[in-house]
Amino acid sequence: MDAIISLLLLGIFFNPVQIKAEPPKIILDVDKPLLTKIPVAVPDFLSAAPGPVSGRDLAEIIRRDLYLTAIFQIVDPTPPISTSANGEPDFDRWNQAGVQVLILGSFQTMGDELTLEVRLYDVALKKLEIGKRYSGKIRDHRRMIHRFADRVMEKLTSVPGCFSTKIAFVGDSQSREVFSMDFDGHNPAQLTRNGSINLSPDWSPDGRNIVFTSYMNGNPDALAMDLSNLSLRAVSSRPGLNASPRYSPDSNSIALSMSFNGLPKLFIVTPQGNIIKRLTEGRGNDISPAWSPDGSAIAYVSDQAGTPQIYIVPTGGGQPRRLTFNGNYNTDPDWSPRGDLLAFTTRIEGRFQICTIRTDGTDLRVLTKTGSNQDPTWSPDGRFIAFMSERDGRRRIYIMDARGEIQVPVSPITGKCPAWSRHSW
């Protein structure tokens, strides 16, 4: 992949901030715009006989995955360059068409079974980089393709893609049930059916449980759902708020906001709900904890200074420090998987927008501009942020690349409170 890597190097080299101390291993920096997008071609997949899925639909899944990252330019040469299921591609012609990365696929179906073969080529080097064969049910074809796209990202950026992950969210209709869906909005599944208000879902790191706040028993309680059988158990049903529960990165504890002895304050509890420690004191409402990826700190919202602002408190003990000073409404922090950034919601001219800020409080960037946008949640590879937007008049879940260049709606129904899984399926 040397040719592609040198292209990436070139892009990074032109960015003056990055000239010094470049690590020897090349990782695409999601915070820094590439001057040139990587030209990639994914011709329609080939099949010997027509079947229930089309080669165009299969190729389109991977084309869209790569497009959404905002680091690829999808090239569709005219006239088309012919490909064959076997044998080497015509590298010279692809090269002349400006293509750096070529992905070729072929498939066959038998009954409800699908067999896929997908290859990734470096065109300049005329080299096969990845070749994979997947077999499974036709209904799982999206999962097979996403899995290959994850490998493509790993090959090109050293970090696997997040195309096999899911997003949980809350429906925004009369009742607020918890749903999950693939990261791109496909395969939606309703998880709760209690007819009540449910809020703030969060995945356990292994993807087997979801914690959330529910009014199904009349009080805002923190519940956990076992996704293998959708069974529920209470994490905390203390009087008052049991709000915004979040699993720790090691799964061993849950941070949440509870008001059983007065103001809503942050606590860390066991997954069974026993209090391990109280994290915050003082005069403010404290809510919306967000764990740092190493579990050593928690970012949260407090209005102790009169307006909601974001603070960071060490989980091992110590004083909170205030992170945000811009404006008078900053909420919903979510810590990036690499640990360097926080995404959050800010109010600008009466509307709400998604921002990122470094954990030292510098480099504030506003990523959304249209309508109102809130509830940011990072993808596990740090390449995307999901959020709720009202830009088209109703609340829906959107995703965008971490710089906000490409923003698209994904949820098939109205929704809010998105939570991106750490686990890949």
Binding site: L199, T213, Y215, P220, G240, A243, N285, F352, Q374
Partner: protein
């Protein structure tokens, strides 16, 4: 005379809303909440069967944007409610805190909690024992007016006092 008929009608409607709200207490609102007024403020005690009458007489307490302090109008509404609650010592009160739709769901939960708590604290300074009152925050999840304008938002930023046995 005609105004009294109107008042009685309002009570019946509100009572029906309260009753229909009982089957799904979480999602349904117990009506817009008693602007109607029965008897005089200095009347005698309410009976055991007067729960819905008491409920219908309590006024929502409204708040300003981003605020959980009781302004003079909110204090007046709280004092009005206080007189009615004093005449019904057999009932308990749940202060439900609500916010308008703007802002994030989670911070609005905290804000609604704070509003409900502020009302209970204010009433306790005027002699209603805190043991008689509990709070629940619905954040911005149960707007009484589904509109997306200042009128609707003003109605939705409220603490609603729910009477229970």
């Amino acid at each position: 005379m005609s105004s009294r008929c109107l008042t009685l009608g309002t009570i019946v409607v509100v009572a029906l809303l309260v009753m229909s709200g009982c089957s799904r207490p979480i999602v349904k609102q117990p009506g817009p909440g008693g602007q109607g007024f029965v008897g005089t403020q200095t009347g005698g005690p309410f009976g055991e069967g007067d729960l819905q009458v008491v409920q219908a007489n309590l006024k929502p307490i409204y708040f300003e944007y981003d605020s959980f302090t009781l302004n003079p109008e909110a204090q007046a509404a709280a004092q009005y409610n206080l007189e009615i609650i004093r005449r019904a010592p057999q009932f308990n009160i749940v202060a439900e805190g609500h916010c308008d739709e703007r802002g994030t769901s989670e911070y609005n939960l905290a804000l609604g909690d704070r509003r409900a708590r502020a009302v209970v604290e204010y009433m306790s300074t005027l002699g209603i024992p805190p043991s008689k009152c509990s709070t629940v925050s619905y954040g911005s999840e149960l707007p009484v007016d589904p509109g997306h304008n200042e009128d609707a938002w003003a109605k939705n930023r409220r603490v609603y006092l729910r009477v229970s046995r």
